[in-house]
Each structure stands twice: as C-alpha cells, then as structure tokens.
C-alpha cells in the first residue's frame, strides 16, 4: 500500500530542520528592527481591587522611557467572550492583572520604570473557588456576569451553539441501570501547557489605523481576526507568523500581549517588542480550565451506560475567551467516548480571581473526562466491568452520532477504532496485567504496580475553515500560499508533501509562503488535530485546481482533452501515451497558474487515541513512577512517520499525562498568588525521566481526503491523566481521585499521613 505514493508516508527532512538545529531559524525574539523599543507590564499585587489613582510621572520622566500607558490612556479595546475584558481596566481581577504598560529603549529601563509607577488601590474581596463564587453575596468580577457566571454559548458556533448535553430520559435510564454511582470529581490543578517559547509580539503601528504584528502563534491568521474585533473593528491588522516555539493551543490567547505591543507602538510611533518572561508565562498566561463534576451515572452489568446526569462546573479564572468553546467541544467529545441514550449534563462556567484558563490541547474533553472517568470507574467496579472492554464498547461507531459544538446532531461516518484499541491492549499486555479493580498487577515489597486505560477522540479534525492557493510556475516549481504556521509538528512540510504528491513534483520544488495574513487567504490554523484533514484538504484542493487549470491551458497543444492529461516532474503528458508531453514552461515564460482550495467544516469524522499506563507506587514514600505508556490509534494513513511519532511521544508534557503525575499550577487560595512561577517549582519532566513509550498506529483508510488520513497530534495528551488515577488506584487498592498523584495524596489515601496542624500565628509558632 505504502508504495503507491512517492512522498506520503515517506520520511523526508523537514524544510525547516537545518535552520532549527543550527540556530538560524528566526524566532520572535530573534527579530530586531531599527528603532525597536521594549515593552513591559506592571502587574497587580492584589487579586481584586479598583485602581484609585496612578501616578506615572516619575516613570515617564526616566531617561530612555518612551511611553507609559494606564487604563486612562487607551481606547476601550476589549477581548473575551463576550467582549468583557479591557486591555487595561480600572479594575484588576487577579494577582498579575495588567495595570500599566511601559515602552523604553531597553528592557532594563522599562523594568526600572515599572518600579517608579505609583498605584493606589481600593481593595475588594476576592473569590478563588468556583462554588464560593456562585454563592449569593460573593464578590462580583464583572457587572456583565451576574453571579460570576460567564454567559454561555459561542456566537461563532451559530445560534444553537452546544451548551449542555441533554437527550433522552435520564430517569428512565437510571431505572434501567444495574448500578448507579455518584459523587464529586475534579481536575483542578490548572496545569500550564508551557510551550518552550514564551508568548510575545512585536507591533509596528501605522497611522491612522493599521498595525503590523509579528507573532508567535500556531494560528497567526486568527490574530488578525481577534485583534480586529478587540479594537472594535477599528484597526486593520496584518499578522506575520514565524516559527512558533510551541503553543499547545495556549497562544491562541495572545490578544493581550499583542494589544500591549500595539498600544505602545501607537503611543510611541516606534516598533515595540513585548515578550513575556517565564515568570509571566507561568503566572499570567493560559492555564487549563479547572473542571469539577457533581454527577450520577447508571450502568448495566454489560457496561452499557444508561444515564449520565449532573453538573459540570468550569472555573475559567478572571475571564473567558474560549472556555465556552471548550465546554461545547468537550460536551461533544464526551458523547464520542460514551454511547448513552440518556443525558442531562448541565454546565456552568464561573469567573474567579485568578489567572485565566483557556485553550489548552484536550480542549474541554480532557477536562471533562478526567472527572467523568473516575465516576464511571466506580460504576465499572460495581458492575464488574473491565475498563478496556467498557471503553471499546462505548466509543463511537459508524452510524452512531453526537451533538457537536454547533448543537447539531451528526452521524459518525469514520472507522471503528476497536481494532486499534485491541492492538494497543495486546502490545501493552492488558490481559496479563489486569487483575480486576483495585488490584495491583504486581507487588515487589513496598512497591506496587497498577494499570489504567483511557480514551479520547475529537471531531475537531474537520472543524473550521481553511483556504489555500497553489501557484504553478513555468520553471516547474510550485508555491503554496497558506497562512499555516509552523508550531513544531512539521505540518508545513507535510502540506508540501501533499502538494508534491498531487503534482508529482519533487518536494524540493514546492515551497510555501511566509504565514503573512496580507499574502495568504483565510486559515484557522493547525488547532486541535485539524491540520491533516482540514488544512490538508484545502491545500490538496488548491493543488488539484491548479493542475486542472494547467491541463486546460496545455490540452490544445497536446491535442487532448484535459481529462486525459496527467503531470509528473514538471511535464504534462497524455496518460495513455506518456511520450506525448510538454514541460510546464510550455505555458509561456510570462504566465503562472493558480489554483484555489477551500475546506469547509465537517463534523462527521473523529480521531481516537487510547492510552495504557502502568505505574509503580512506592507505598512508603508515596512516589508514583510511570513504568510504561502505550498509545494506540488509527490515523487512516501516516503522512509523516517521525512527525507522528513525535506527536504521540508528546503525550506526557504540555499539561498531558504529567498533569496527573506532577504538573500543576499552585495557587495560594488565601492570597491569590501563583506560587510556582519558575521551572524548578513548576514540575515538568526532563529527558532523564522518560518512561518507555510504545505507539501502535494502524492505517485503516478513512474517508477524509484523497490520502485517507486524519490528524491525531492534539489528543495524545488527553487519555492519559485519568488512566494514571486508575492505575494508581489499582496499584494501592484504594480510590485515588485527585490530580496530580503527589506523594502527599498517595500517603493520605493510604492512611499513612494524619496531619498534625501546628497552631499559632505565622512567625510566632
């Protein structure tokens, strides 16, 4: 099968590989330009306060300072959904909220100027827990959100935008159940996806109403769309994306840092670079939403789920830009994982006085499942159902359906993933290791091993729109016009492979434009796992369209019908008589040939990832170690073998499996400060601690585009966290329901820690 393609499925060097490994790739912070100023942000020490007054005179007078802006100096630009959050406001809503902006000749001067800004605050009571925030009389973050409840729904998703999952008759469902379990379960450790490159922007303002932004974002075209709306549709925004040092979704939320740079450039007339420090990245940039369910599930002894009912609460922090979207997609994804005719799962998104949550890979579904699977596990235990069998049975099958983010029911027309799941189970040795619920798979002294499994899938592989041009040149080369940004996955090279395959042109003869919104058509960007199917479809269609136009031009000269023609290596030939051919340059030296391709959303396909986890628990120290990870998926067809492997091996970090092991953002719930704002205190896995990861990838052709492939990159992180809880619970023989599984939590669950609280006031004990 693999041999029928020249490029698809073949390992070729990434176009940008040499630049990256030799350090010549120009990341955002490498960009310098004449007159460049450096921007810095003064941040609030209080979780909730009104700014009584700000005296910026000393800062403005510091030598080298070119601009200082406070909420009084800027237009009423707002972001969020709905647009509720000003770029700078009179009110601060979390520790680290922006209070003032400075642009100066050097970063050091800008930082020094921050020390000279005097702010007088009127402190307001803060609320840091979502249930507290919902109580009558709780501090209110916004007038627009009474009760701190964020307005549900996403206008972009249409009038029926999915909110709750409601269908069937849950009461009837519970009556049919053999077992019913209920409880409160959370995934509330708000990990930071932590791309290696911190967020930032460079802005160059042009009077009266234009800005050019150099951005680091996986979806640079969308920055023009977002900023345009933030400015009340007053500013024409051009975005130029470059290599992006990781995003994992988070940099979709760059409108604030981009607005800061834009406003400072507007105020100073000079280009302004503003890049967050690692501390800011950890304390002031996108966190995973905090998720908690209070729910009840009904199940039959054969693992059939008869009813799911309850409330899903999501803490979005001090504002929401995308949380409603994540809830909509998460509500869709849960139906892909659990076939159940009776649902009544309501949700509520709550604002609290902490740094904002938003887009992180897993996009709502990971958050919801990390709460729901532990609840389902209780039912599985009661019903005596093996979780592997449960997940296989209940995952979406052809002919099943789900309400997707637009509130519309879609019938799934993809493949049955059971085979991939079963292959993964065999590779992992599930059958040999599974000893039943709350039973270790092996014991060695004080060390116990346990296993767990999780699954995740997303119909976002066909979400949103993409457009591309492909231009053929008389010299036998082709250029792809696409605003897709390279954010580490190698997808820009993969689209060149697809075009090369369509045109039968060596990949070296295909190039791609910079991700400049001025040059390229609409591109939602490689969000979720949509790159392979959605962007791929647009690029393929553009190449096919260009090819068709080329054939139409050359058909008369070849005395053939365009339908009879084909092309290879820069020649057009008659398929039945390949000797009859013309080089592309036969179109004439003064002519190019451009095709256009567009992909419109299709929610009838979903990808799938199952992750098997084995852990070892030291029952004396509470330390949990990953022993083995197996990921199993079916991608239809592999486009880029090493790229795919890299994506699957990425399952640990970026708020993935390790969000169950040790990744967490630690919030002081008294003061609102985030305590672990450096890379020592924020635990993340280094290469010295990688467990063996084994990936089982099947290739059952999927009816997507001509290469029958779908993307899976995003979802590698999602099935793992709940599988870790399951594995630890089985290892120690007691339910473990909190993320991450710190030594403290393990020892507590084992009954080995009985806290003795030292009394006395701070410092006097």
């Amino acid at each position: 099968m693999a041999d029928e393609y020249r490029f698809i499925g073949k390992t070729i060097p990434r176009k940008d590989a040499a630049e990256i490994v030799t350090g010549s790739a120009r990341f955002l912070n490498d960009i310098k330009m004449p007159g460049l100023l450096y921007g810095k942000v003064l941040r609030s020490p209080h979780p909730h306060a009104l700014i009584r007054q700000i005296d910026k005179s000393k800062a403005a007078n510091l030598k080298g300072v070119k601009g200082v802006l406070t909420w009084e100096d800027i237009p009423d630009w707002r972001g969020g959904t709905p647009r509720s959050t000003r770029v700078l406001d009179r009110k601060v809503r979390y520790v680290g909220d922006a209070v003032a902006l400075v642009a100066a000749e050097t970063e050091e001067t800008a930082k020094e100027a921050l020390r000279l800004i005097e702010v007088e605050y009127e402190l307001l009571p803060a609320v840091l827990d979502m249930e507290e925030a919902l109580k009558p009389g709780a501090p209110q973050l916004y007038d627009e959100f009474p009760g701190n409840v964020v307005k549900p729904g996403v206008p972009f998703f249409g009038p029926k935008s999915l909110k709750d999952v409601v269908m069937g008759d849950v009461e009837k469902g519970f009556q049919e159940a053999d077992v019913i379990t209920e409880g409160t379960f959370g995934y509330e450790n708000i990990p930071n996806p932590l791309p290696p490159e911190p967020p930032g922007a460079i802005a160059q303002w042009e009077e009266p109403n234009k800005v050019t932004l150099w951005v680091s974002n996986q979806a640079s075209y969308m920055d023009t769309v977002t900023l345009f709306h933030v400015t009340g549709r007053q500013v024409e925004v051009r975005s130029i994306g470059g290599p992006c040092g990781g995003s994992y979704g988070s940099k979709f939320m760059s409108w604030q840092v981009q607005s800061y740079a834009t406003l400072l450039s507007r105020a100073t007339g000079r280009p302004v670079k503003l890049i967050m420090t690692k501390e800011e990245h950890l304390a002031n940039f996108t966190l995973r939403p905090s998720s908690r369910i209070k729910a009840r599930v009904g199940m039959k002894r054969d693992g059939t789920v008869t009813a799911v009912a309850g409330t899903w609460m999501i803490d979005t922090g001090y504002y929401s830009m995308t949380t409603q979207s994540q809830v909509a997609v998460g509500a869709g994804e849960v139906q892909i994982m659990v076939r159940c005719p009776n649902w009544n799962l309501r949700n509520v998104i709550v604002c609290t006085n902490r740094n904002a949550s938003g887009i992180v890979r897993g996009f709502g579904g990971q958050e919801l499942k990390c709460c729901l699977i532990p609840l389902l596990s209780l039912a599985m235990e009661k019903a005596g159902v093996d979780p592997l069998e449960f997940l296989k049975k209940n995952y979406v099958k052809p002919g099943d359906g789900y309400f997707w983010r637009d509130g519309i029911w879609y019938e799934y027309r993809g493949v049955d993933y059971t085979k991939a799941m079963q292959s993964g189970a065999e590779r992992f040795g599930w059958k040999e290791k599974w000893k039943g619920w709350l039973k270790p798979s092996s014991i060695d002294g004080v060390k116990r091993r346990g296993i767990g499994v999780g699954v995740h899938g997303n119909a976002d592989i066909g979400e949103d729109s993409s457009e591309a041009y492909v231009r053929l040149h008389p010299d036998g080369t082709a250029m792809v016009f696409s605003c897709v940004t390279e954010h580490g996955t190698g997808q820009r090279t993969n689209f060149l492979k697809m075009v090369a395959e369509v045109l039968q042109l060596p990949v070296e003869r295909v190039s791609i434009t910079p991700s400049d919104s001025l040059v390229n058509p609409y591109e939602f960007g490689p969000a979720g796992s949509r790159g392979t199917y959605a962007i791929g479809s647009a690029v393929i269609a553009a190449a096919e369209d260009a090819k068709q136009k080329l054939f139409e031009i050359l058909a008369p000269r070849l005395q053939a019908d365009p339908k009879e023609l084909d092309t290879s290596d820069g020649f057009v030939f008659v398929r039945s008589n390949p000797g009859k051919r013309l080089p592309w340059k036969a179109v004439g030296p003064d002519r190019t040939c451009t095709g256009f391709g567009r992909f419109s959303p299709d929610y009838t396909l979903s990808n799938c990832m199952m992750t098997f986890i084995e852990v070892e628990v030291d029952t004396e120290t509470g330390k949990v170690t990953l022993v083995q990870v197996v990921n199993a998926t079916d991608v239809g067809r592999i486009i880029d073998p090493p790229g795919l492997e890299g994506q699957l091996n990425g399952c640990l970090g970026s708020a993935g499996i390790d969000s169950a092991v040790f990744e967490e953002t630690i919030l002081d719930r008294r003061s609102g400060h985030i305590m672990n704002t450096n890379l020592i205190e924020y635990k993340w896995r280094t290469s010295l601690e990688l467990p063996p990861i084994d990936n089982v990838v099947m290739e059952t052709p999927i009816d997507s585009h001509r290469f029958n492939a779908v993307g899976v990159g995003e979802i590698a992180t999602s099935p793992g966290p709940s599988a870790v809880l399951m594995a630890v619970s089985n290892a120690i023989g007691t339910w473990m329901h909190e993320y991450p599984v710190t030594p403290e939590r393990v020892l507590k669950v084992l009954g080995k820690v009985k806290p003795r609280v030292r009394r006395g006031k701070g410092g006097e004990a």
Binding site: K40, R43, S44, P45, H46, V95, G96, E108, K111, E112, L114, T277, E279, E280, A283, N284, E620, T621, G622, K623, F662, I666, D668, R670, S671, H673, I674, M675, N676, T677, N678, I680, E681, K683, W684, R685, T686, L688, E689, T742, P743, E744, L747, K748, K752, V753, K754, P755, R756, V757, R758, G760, K761, G762, G763, E764, A765
Partner: protein
C-alpha cells in the same frame, strides 16, 4: 537586573574588607547560580550596591586531605567534588550529595561555598517582583511567615520558628552527618563552626564582613557505610523534599557509631541524635531501623500541608540505616 558595581577581589582579605566597606550592601559571587536568580528576580526589597567576584581569588578551590581529614576550598566546584577521588573514596556521601544538585551545567559553575550559602527556596520569600511585587515576610524584615497559613507543602517540619523555609543545600546534609565544619574568614581573622551550627531560621551564621573559605571534614573510618538519599518530585533538577545522609560504622552487624542527618526538613541540616542513640551498640535490623526512623522524627511538628514529609523522612532514615547493614 538593576545596576550595581562589580568588583573582582584578588584575596580573601580584600573580599572581606569590601564586604565591610559596603556595610551589608554587597554580595559575593562565587558560581553565581543562585545569586543571579536573586539579582534577576528582584524579590528582595534591598538590592545590592556591589557584587564582589571571588572567583578571582587564587587557591580557594583546592581539595586536599591530611591525617585529620578532608579540606575543601569554598570555591571548589560541585562537579570537581563529584569527580575527586579523595572525596569519592573517603567521603562518598558528600560526593553523592554534590552529584544530586541541579544539572551538570550548574555543578560546573556552582561551588560548595555557594551551595552552603545559597538562599532559601521558599516561594513566598522568592515571589518574583514582576508579578505584582515581592511578598512581605519575616525573613525580609516584616510581617509573619506566609507559609504558616499558606501553602507550606515544602516547608519545615522541625524547628521552624519565625521562618519555616528549609535549608536547600544538599552538601550541608552530608557534611552534617560527617561532623563537618565551616571555616569562616573576616578582616579580623578566621573562625570555625560546625555545619549544623551554621544555619538559623532567618539566615546563615555569617556576620557582616565574613565569608566562607573552606569546609573541613574529620576523617571517616574506611569501614563506615555512607549513604545520601534525596527524595524529590522530579529526578533531576530538583530540590529535596527530604534528604538523609548517614555514616554508620558497624562491627559484625552491630552498630558501633551511627550518624544521621536530615535535610530539607528544617532551617538547617538536623542531626537525628535520638535515632543515633537508638542505634548505638545494637544489631542493625529492619525493626531497629524503623525504631530509629521514629526517633529521628519524634520532634517533628508538621504544618498544615507537610505531614507527608515526616513519613518520607522516616522512610529515608530507615532505608539509610538498612543500607549500612
């Protein structure tokens, strides 16, 4: 980073008189691996006027041994200690402790003097200025210790008082178990204090104008079993949640002399004297090790979120004793 004067000292005398001259407003830079974080994070209310480079002082990085024991110059790099045959052969727990510090790059820059004198890791104390301003606490001169009522998962379980930050130094723990001493110089002379006496809740034992010039370790009997165990959340690049160093001399399975130090549980390394007494003269068995572990933590008074550290410390003591078997 803000502006400061940078002065390279050629001698210990010069460094000490510069410290005096700046009246507490100067800091020493040996490896700089901890100092730079302080200078960049600007988390203290005071900012040094001068940074005195002591890397330029000759002869302060030697590692030598005589009949009394080991002597390591304050500027000896952690990586040199991990590689030194003298340390590895005679003082293995110290080499092991140095090897657990941070990363190879940091061990190549960081010194043993700096490792002993590094500032505490308390996240309230070190809260970065750029995210709303530094936090106020007793260690910085005003207000209570924020950890007591805050998130104290990594804080002291023994002997906090005023400040519950723990001593982050790994080498200090090994040195404490070895009865190590710290040699301190000032313009008026030199003095020597035990490692265990060097640390106090609000800072180390250096007076204004003083600097650490070396550490000294009495000779350890070759048959004594040395162990250094460090419990971290992440294997590399992490500070200890608890560490334990032990030097146990036994004769035919009977403990002749056992020395055990606990790290990251208190403002300084703590000798587990009750546990040491428990061991003395008794055959080492799992039961005895468990009893010693209980004794080692008998005085622990955990805060609201760190009782787990007591359990981990007990486990490490037990394991350290049993490896001496």
């Amino acid at each position: 980073m803000r502006s400061f004067s940078h002065i390279s000292a050629a001698t210990v005398d010069q460094a000490c008189s510069l410290l005096r001259k700046y009246k507490g407003k100067a800091v020493l830079n040996a490896g700089g691996t901890d100092l730079l974080l302080t200078l960049k994070g600007e988390h203290l209310f005071e900012y040094p006027e001068a940074v005195i480079d002591i890397k330029t002082i000759d002869g302060l990085d030697s590692i030598s041994e005589n009949e009394d024991g080991l002597k390591i110059g304050a500027l000896a790099k952690l990586s040199a200690i991990t590689r030194s045959p003298l340390v590895r052969n005679g003082y293995g727990a110290l080499a092991e402790a140095a090897l657990t510090v941070a990363t190879p790059q940091i061990r190549n820059a960081g010194t043993i003097g700096g490792n002993l004198c590094q500032d505490v890791r308390c996240w309230y104390y070190r809260y970065p200025r750029h995210i709303g301003g530094p936090m106020t606490c007793l260690r910085k001169g005003k207000g209570p210790c924020l950890a007591v009522a805050g998130d104290n998962r990594y804080h002291a379980i023994i002997g906090g008082k005023k400040c519950f930050a723990v001593c982050p130094s790994d080498t200090a723990v090994a040195l404490a178990a070895m009865d190590g001493k710290i040699r301190i110089a000032s313009a008026s002379g030199e003095r020597t204090i035990p490692v265990t006496g060097f640390f106090s809740p609000l800072g180390n034992g250096l007076k204004s104008g003083e600097m650490v010039i070396s550490v000294e370790v009495p000779k350890i009997k070759g048959t004594a079993k040395q162990t250094f165990l460090k419990f971290t959340l992440r294997k590399p690049v992490d500070f200890a949640i608890v560490s334990v160093a032990s030097v146990i001399l036994q004769d035919k399975g009977v403990c002749v002399d056992g020395r055990i130090a606990l790290g990251a549980v208190a403002p300084g390394p703590v000798r587990a004297e009750k546990a040491e007494e428990t061991l003395k003269g008794k055959p080492i068995t799992p039961e005895l090790a468990a009893e010693a572990a209980e004794q080692a933590l008998a005085d622990a008074k955990p805060l609201s979120m760190n009782a787990y550290k007591v359990e981990i410390a007990k486990t490490l003591v037990k394991r350290a004793v049993l490896t001496g078997l």
